[in-house]
């Protein structure tokens, strides 16, 4: 279990602060596990033949998984008391398929009133950046 005492406060953060990357291997088994867990059972997310018919080289990770991994990346950095407010402009620039190792990262791009932190978020693999997005968090304050 993660360290319960770990917490990032608004005052700890500045523009340019980088969030430690979180990586995860994509296998067909994980895609099947993920589809069952997130309830998006669309064939292209676990059936290679169906995925290829959509133009993908293989089954590919769905949006629910990508959003969840973004939340994981930000949560592991900020700690238990921060709040995920928004994920915006989420785009998948290519298919994320079995055999890919995805590394999720984020960097602070703005600090706003009410302890809001805006971040640029991405996922990358050997294919380059495969996901881009922005996120907005509210962090606790020390004052």
């Amino acid at each position: 279990m993660k360290d319960l005492l770990h917490q990032v406060y608004f005052e700890d953060v500045e523009v340019g602060t980088e969030v430690p990357p979180v990586s995860i291997t994509l296998t067909l088994q994980r895609l099947v596990m993920e589809a069952g867990a997130n309830r998006d059972l669309s064939l292209m997310h676990h059936d290679r033949e169906a995925a290829i018919a959509t133009g993908s080289p293989d089954a590919f990770a769905n949006t629910f998984f990508i959003m969840g991994m973004i939340e994981r990346t930000l949560r592991e950095w900020m700690g238990s008391k921060g709040t995920l407010r928004k994920i915006t402009s989420l785009r998948m620039t290519t298919f994320n398929c079995p055999g890919d190792v995805l590394s999720f990262g984020a960097k602070v791009i703005a600090l706003e009133p009410d302890n809001i932190v805006r971040l640029e978020v991405w996922a990358e693999s050997k294919k380059g950046k495969t996901v881009t997005a922005e996120a907005s968090l509210r962090l606790p304050s020390t004052v």
Binding site: L4, G36, G55, F65, E76, S80, S89, L90
Partner: protein, 185 residues
């Protein structure tokens, strides 16, 4: 060309007629509970105590364990089968995710995928919460992409809990299309 099960078949005029209207409402198949949270975390190797440990969640200011905010989408998906529904036959098309708009809006297309998504989160997902997703079609933009010719359908999904609180508002662009080799000349 016919509907191959990847969305309701219809003309672009029928698509346009639904612009600005509520497409449908889905009621999540399952309430927020520990088992589904655990399986969702497992697939992502996501270890965070506020999602698994009651005392940690309380220390963080929640009344009890909370589900990750992005699980709102999962808890808004309706059942793939429920009592009273017909038994699936081998020749039946694959079942699609049970959320309105994506597949219920008629369009002359046989395939689809999600492209851009914006989400704003609201109330936390508490144990026992039951979500409802109300979907509205808010945009139709025709485009030719590398995979085929079709249109981006922009939907707005509002997820609410049984207390009437908004837990998430999603704007999603879905590209509904016909692959180039299948497109009518």
């Amino acid at each position: 060309m016919s509907n191959s099960g990847w969305g309701k078949w219809g003309s672009w005029e029928e698509t346009q007629a639904l612009l600005g209207k509520i497409i449908g409402v889905s009621h999540g198949a399952d309430a927020v509970e520990k088992g589904s949270i655990r399986r969702w975390l497992e697939a992502k190797e996501f270890d965070c105590p506020i999602h698994t440990d009651s005392s940690a969640a309380k220390d963080a200011g929640f009344p009890d364990i909370v589900a990750p905010a992005t699980m709102a989408f999962t808890y808004g998906v309706g059942p793939y089968w429920k009592p009273g529904d017909p038994q699936q036959q081998l020749e039946d098309p694959a079942k699609q995710i049970n959320i309105p708009a994506i597949f219920d809006v008629p369009a002359p297309c046989i395939l689809s995928f999600a492209t851009s998504v914006d989400v704003e989160f609201g109330a936390p997902l508490l144990l026992g919460d039951q979500l409802t997703n109300t979907s509205k079609l808010v945009g139709v933009t025709h485009k030719t992409m590398s995979v085929g010719k079709g249109a981006f359908l922009r939907q707005q999904d509002t997820y609410t809990n049984q207390r009437g609180e908004t837990v998430a508002i999603v704007h999603m662009d879905i590209f509904r299309f016909v692959p180039h080799e299948d497109a009518p000349i």
